[in-house]
Amino acid sequence: MILTRKKTLMMWEKLPFSNDIERYWQLLSVLVPQNLNTRYRGSFLGVYWSLLNPIIMTTLYTVIFGTTFASYFGDSIINYMFAAFTGLLVINFYNSATTQALSSIVINGDLLNKIKLPLPVFPLSMIAANIFQFIVGSLPLLIIVTLIKTHNILFVFSLLLPFSALVLVCTGIGLFLSALFVFFRDLGYFYEIATFIVWITSPVFYPSEIVPARVQPFLYLNPLVPIIESLRQISLDGTFPEFSHLMKGFLSGIVILTLGCLFFRKVQSSFMDLL
């Protein structure tokens, strides 16, 4: 009779959707602005700085590779440029979301030693801050590209599908990395190599057709490849994305997220001794 509160709490913890969502929501609503604030020193325009990188990279790629690869993009350098740009947006989102999630638990170790907080909220807040940044910064550009190429508002909405798959992938990897970083503080160094592999195996600045046919299937092990392909099909070709690509994107998203969550839950009880 006495200990009802604790009991219901434990029951809720076993359910995937619960009242805890309210607590997570409250925490995210203060942690996300805090993240953005520290990153941009309170200047809202700062979000647009994050666009500088993909724009410069797109320009460079177009100048260097544009003429060579234009033939794969309907003989149009402009098409190549748009394709490189969408690819870069995806890769940049992936890199910054997962890299920021990586250290999120450790940098809040002090806080976690003083107040009881749900541990996953820290990597999640990093992912959420990046989603916000994407919606404010990159998405309007992507929408403009889509409208220019397709003249159809319907395709704008279907952009959300591959983007959701991307968020699933990043959340799973972010949870996994943030947990592993508690144990291994030199993980950042190894993860840099991994992000390079992800970047080079994603057809961002080259058309996937130039990769030898025998190697191509391996590219699809990279979860970002089907996501980039779907985004390009929507925004550049103006077709509904191939169902198989979309399925692959979501499937890898769900698998990675599940594995990430399971790993996080398995090891989180040892965190407090190492923070």
């Binding site: 006495i2 200990l3 009802t4 509160r5 604790k6 607590r23 409250q26 925490l27 609503s29 203060v30 805090q34 604030n37 520290t38 020193r41 002090d110 806080l111 976690l112 030693n113 003083k114 107040i115 009881k116 907080l117 144990f183 291994f184 503080r185 030199d186 993980l187 190894f190 009880s269 040892s270 407090m272 001794d273 190492l274």
Partner: protein, 257 residues
């Protein structure tokens, strides 16, 4: 009124000793390949702790440094999970373990009040309506828009105390926190704790100022090397504790709290 709010049954806690752990992927992999990997050592910090706290009680916890007082409070707050045994807590806890942990130095005092309040478990809307009251109690009205890094450490502690005690918590946990702030604020915080107690908040209180423990606590737990060495009358607990460390009489330290 006599409701049980905290119950610890046979609580033991083992913690990893940090110095043995390498935190290094490269070295861990190499030592694994060489077959030299050692499982990290663990040390028992709490040994078979049992006690029950009823609603409205004020419990002092005393013991030498490293006895496990802070650890015990963290187990009660749920920050640490016991290795064995069970902890049951009913009601919301305000942990004042180290005031101001969780402040963002770059953000303004007002934003930090909301941030800290939400971290402690209150809602954002609730905190917004309380901001002015909290600033007033902390005597920081003129500092609302100032970044927290511009406050003195005493001011930060005042701010932390004001946020954590602004709402009446069911259980208040104080871990050596009342030594902060100037004379006036010390007096004020004492008064607030007094009033929280009168409103029947349960208080767990760790302090090295035994005078204060004597004044304030109905019961006292003496922790020694992670074990409860004595549990009961406050006077008796203080006497036993002082005897064990070989001090005849307790001398008030320079800072009274």
């Amino acid at each position: 009124m006599d409701q049980e709010v905290i119950r610890l049954n046979n609580v033991s806690l083992w913690r990893r000793t940090q110095e043995e752990f390498s935190y290094d992927l490269k070295r861990t992999v190499i030592s694994f390949l060489q077959g030299k990997y050692i499982k990290p050592a663990k040390k028992q910090v709490l040994k078979d702790v049992n006690f029950v706290v009823k609603s409205g009680e004020k419990i002092g916890i005393i013991g030498s440094n490293g006895a496990g007082k802070s650890t015990l409070l963290k187990v009660i707050c749920g920050i640490l999970d016991p290795t064995f045994g069970t902890v049951r807590v009913r009601g919301n806890i305000a942990p004042l373990i180290e005031l101001g942990a969780g402040f963002n130095m770059e953000m303004s005092v007002k934003d930090n009040i909301i941030l800290y309040g939400v971290l402690l478990g209150y809602s954002k809307e609730e905190m917004k309506t309380r901001t002015n009251e909290i600033l007033e109690f902390a005597e920081l009205e003129e500092y609302g828009e100032v970044p927290v890094k511009a406050l003195s450490s005493g001011m930060k502690a005042r701010l932390g105390f004001s946020v954590a005690t602004d709402v009446k918590p069911d259980i208040l946990i104080l871990d050596e926190v009342l030594s902060v702030g100037d004379a006036k604020f010390t007096h004020k915080s004492r008064e607030r704790i007094q009033s929280l107690w009168e409103q029947s908040s349960t208080i767990l209180f760790v302090s090295h100022s035994l005078e204060y423990v004597k004044d304030l606590c109905d019961r006292c737990i003496w922790l020694n090397h992670g074990e409860i060495a004595y549990h009961g009358n406050t006077q008796e607990a203080i006497k036993l504790y002082l005897d064990s460390v070989g001090v005849k009489e307790y001398i008030r330290p320079p800072s009274a709290l």
